[in-house]
């Protein structure tokens, strides 16, 4: 009957004290935390010192949240162009010339080879261009990324299958994450977080960033660099590309790519010593240097087109062979542009364009104000609820209030342990749980009052109150938990922060309102031996 063994009391207190201590690092700034850890004598093992802290959400800390999506049509365009080039190579090697050349389709290519014998010869080679779609768990699924269909008239269609497209998108996203990370790292931004979201999205979060425009510009460029020759008059195998200068006028360039961005090992912004114009100096790797050297030796006096993202930025004339593997890109750039270009070239090209589908930026001022407002609301709510509980239940209200404060402390402790993110809706969640946490105590106290008024003794009334109310407490908290869990899985960012606080709040309220108050009341009963309820 309301008896607590000493060990049980100690165990309960220990759990609570540890829980509260976990919250301590979150109350300190990062510097204070480090200073504190360094000030400890060396014999204190590091695992004993709580070091995990709550992370402030971007809405409180200020910063930028940019959601990027791989541009699938752009990716398909690149892939089908690549396929066209491969098919052309195969045709050349097999010495087959299709009727009407190679047709580009939205998802593949089409050629017409009426001669059955030629088709026979060609098909195995075309099949080599397709790749099996691998699955890490299930192994080879047997399907391939490109489906080849032929008609009796000799029309051969190669098209990416849905699975093939998905596979390309998946790989492009993975590749893009790496490129995005490198581009941001070179910028030296503090603690960016780069995560994959879904099949084709990348979430970039940069604390403290106030204007993501530059970030978006940096990430929005594919940065595909190619060196090709300007086509000579009469050439057939040409692409028409826009010139950067002269108002987007189109010029013919050869389809063959001499060297590309992937062959670069370094790129640095610099100035041209003669014209004093901002330029980018680059160095090729061995393969690039060889190919570039050979091409420039063979094509003296012709124009070399430097193509960036399908735009000819400049087309200097080759005056002498460039065999040292070094070169420069000029093209009426500003200083800012050459800086960016150098970064982009060093970080590598994106497999496809990235589009910004969502952007949320909070300035540091608003974040600070929100924290201040949140603190104020928390204090006021606590004072109001504590006063109200004390006025209604007296001493028992005091017990509930102690439990309430421990409850708030434990939420912070658990959030620190989980390194959870505190957002503005999360603060609202904390304030809301201050109001709802005492519900359990109210349920218990009202029940105790009823039981005692129905004729039970105080001790058995208290006992019955706790026992009877317990089922209802579990019920009423589970209903809240249902809503919170659904919210957690559906929401993102700030809203998820609210769900986390709410779920943790439900857990801790059961601990504090039931276990802790019960213990306090039991100890009080044994100490005071009251003849009547204090409320």
């Amino acid at each position: 009957m309301l008896r607590y063994s000493r060990s049980k009391i100690i165990a309960t207190m220990a759990v609570i004290v540890i829980g509260l201590l976990l919250a301590v690092p979150s109350m300190m700034s990062r510097e204070q935390r480090l200073a504190f850890q360094n000030s400890l004598p060396s014999w204190v093992p590091s695992w004993l010192v709580p070091s995990r802290a709550i992370v402030l959400g971007l809405d409180l800390q200020g910063g930028s949240h940019v959601l990027l999506e791989v541009d699938v049509p752009d990716l398909l365009r690149t892939q089908t162009t690549q396929l066209r080039d491969d098919v052309r190579r195969v045709l050349r090697e097999a010495r087959v010339s299709p009727q009407g050349g190679i047709q580009l389709l939205p998802r593949g290519v089409q050629i017409r080879v009426p001669d059955a014998a030629e088709r026979e010869k060609l098909m195995p080679k075309l099949r080599e261009l397709t790749q099996p779609i691998g699955n890490a768990v299930l192994g080879q699924s047997g399907s391939r990324d490109i489906e080849i269909t032929t008609t009796p008239e000799g029309l051969i269609t190669m098209a990416y299958t849905d699975a093939g497209v998905n596979e390309k998108v998946r790989r492009a996203t993975e590749q893009a994450i790496e490129v995005v990370r490198r581009r941001i790292d070179i910028q030296g931004t503090t603690e960016p977080s780069i995560q994959r979201q879904g099949a084709d999205r990348i979430l970039v979060q940069v604390p403290g960033l106030q204007d993501p425009q530059r970030l978006k510009e940096l990430l929005g460029k594919t940065a595909k660099l190619e060196f090709r020759l300007l086509a000579q008059p009469g050439a057939t195998d040409v692409d028409m590309l826009a010139m950067k200068e002269a108002g987007g006028q189109k010029v013919p360039v050869e389809r063959r790519v001499i060297a590309e961005g992937g062959d670069l090992i370094d790129a640095q912004p610099s100035f041209d010593s003669r014209s004093n114009e901002p330029i980018v100096n680059f160095r090729f790797n061995i393969r690039g240097a060889q190919r570039f050297g050979q091409a420039t030796t063979e094509n003296l006096e012709r124009s070399l087109a430097i193509v960036l993202d399908n735009e000819v930025v400049s087309a200097p004339t080759i005056k002498s062979p460039i065999t040292g593997g070094q070169g420069m890109i000029s093209g009426r750039f500003t200083v800012q542009q050459v800086n960016d270009l150098a970064v982009l070239l060093r970080a590598g090209a994106l497999p496809a364009k990235l589009t910004v589908v969502e952007e949320r930026t909070v300035g540091p001022g608003l974040g600070q104000d929100s924290i201040q407002a949140g603190k104020m609301a928390t204090y006021v709510a606590t004072v109001l609820v504590v006063a109200f509980m004390f006025m209604t239940y007296g001493l028992f209200g005091l017990f509930a209030n102690i439990a309430l404060l421990v409850h708030v402390g434990l939420i912070f402790g658990l959030m620190s342990l989980l390194e959870a993110t505190l957002t503005l809706p999360g603060i609202a969640g904390i304030v809301l749980t201050i109001g709802t946490a005492v519900d359990s105590n109210v349920l218990i106290y009202e029940r105790i009052r009823e039981e005692v008024h129905a004729g039970r003794s105080i001790v058995s009334g208290i006992q019955a109150g706790f026992e009877r109310a317990f089922a209802t407490i579990i019920d009423s908290n589970s209903t809240m938990a249902i809503a919170a869990v659904i919210l957690f899985f559906l929401g993102s960012g700030p809203v998820r922060g609210f769900a986390v606080v709410f779920i943790l709040g439900i857990l801790t309220t059961v601990i504090t309102a039931v276990t802790l108050t019960r213990m306090m009341i039991a100890l009080w009963y044994h100490w005071a031996r009251p003849k009547a309820l204090p409320f």
Binding site: D211, E358, V431, A484, L487, L490, V495
Partner: protein, 312 residues
């Protein structure tokens, strides 16, 4: 010291008879909600509608709303909503979603930054493209439907059929009236609003469950008591708890409304109205519903199967 008692002990108030007023009132309000929803509609925020939202703060003095509106209109990005808030030079601008896909949205932000950043600090900029907003609508809708289904399952396992029916009826009532509150106040409806509605679903159920737990207990104790009396007794005995919890929750929400700042204010107001709606419906809607559904039918039907009914 004399302690506070908000609700008198041993009250014998006849709550059930008030259904003559509460049912028509709720029917009227629900109908009104549906009509307003179809005529005025919700004020969807950019989460669901897409577009760009900016919060500007004048670097000195007041914000010149007329000038901002004129400048923003001249951008040619469609109809701009300009709203002043607070007294210290805060302005919010809302641009509609731009034609031309995901990448077209960025131009709005760029133009606004170029125009206003000399005189104003950009406190918040949010841009949601058409695809993301479509997905958010989807996940918001799924969220509410899932919550209702989850609640149904919970009630099905936890309560007898009649009680579960009454509770789900009450919960739906609360969702409808909360949406009504959104329509009438024209509070922005966004992802946080979904959070508010889901929390209200939780709270609504919480209120009903506490009363119904008592109803079930009393059913077993007073096997012959008429339904109406039984329900009145359940509500009267749990009333002091209902009032207490509504009060503490309302107090903390009040603190949020007054001190929580602009971003939280509307969430807190909705929650506050939700607490009022839920408390009202637990007493005046879900409980009296049981008079019509009939309480004892399944209890007697289950009895022959040997269901344990622990009587006092």
């Amino acid at each position: 010291m004399r302690l506070l008692r908000i609700w008198p002990e041993n009250s014998h108030f006849d709550f059930m008879s008030l259904r003559r007023f509460s049912f028509p009132l709720s029917a009227f309000l629900s109908l009104l909600t549906v009509v307003l929803l179809m005529t005025i509609g919700l004020n969807f925020g950019i989460d669901f509608k897409g577009g760009t939202l900016m919060e500007l703060q004048a670097k000195s003095g007041h914000a010149d709303v007329a000038k901002i509106r004129k400048a923003a209109d001249s951008f040619g990005f469609g109809e701009v909503e300009v709203q002043e808030f607070g007294t210290a030079g805060g302005v919010s601008l809302r641009f509609p979603i731009q034609q031309g896909g995901e990448s077209a949205q960025s131009a709005v932000v760029q133009k606004a930054r170029d125009t206003f950043s000399d005189e104003y600090e950009f406190r918040r900029v949010e841009t949601v493209g058409p695809r993301v907003s479509g997905e958010l609508v989807q996940s918001g809708t799924i969220g509410i439907i899932l919550a209702v289904i989850a609640v149904l399952f919970y009630l099905w396992f936890r309560f007898e059929r009649e009680l579960a029916l009454g509770a789900i009826f009450g919960t739906l009532h609360d969702i409808v009236l909360t949406i009504g509150f959104f329509v009438i106040t024209q509070h922005e409806f966004n992802m946080t609003s979904i959070a508010a509605i889901l929390t209200i679903v939780g709270y609504s159920l919480n209120e009903t469950v506490v009363v119904f737990d008592r109803t079930r207990e009393l059913m077993r104790r007073y096997k012959t008591m008429p339904t109406k009396e039984l329900l009145n007794l359940s509500i009267n005995t749990t009333m002091s708890r209902t009032v207490m919890t509504a009060a503490t929750t309302a107090l903390s929400l009040l603190a949020l409304v007054i001190f929580g700042g602009r971003a939280i204010e509307s969430f807190a107001q909705v929650m506050l109205s939700g607490v009022a709606i839920c408390t009202y419906s637990a007493i005046f809607i879900s409980s009296p519903m049981l008079i019509y559904i009939g309480l004892r039918s399944s209890e007697t039907a289950k009895a022959p199967e040997g269901k344990v009914a622990p009587a006092e």
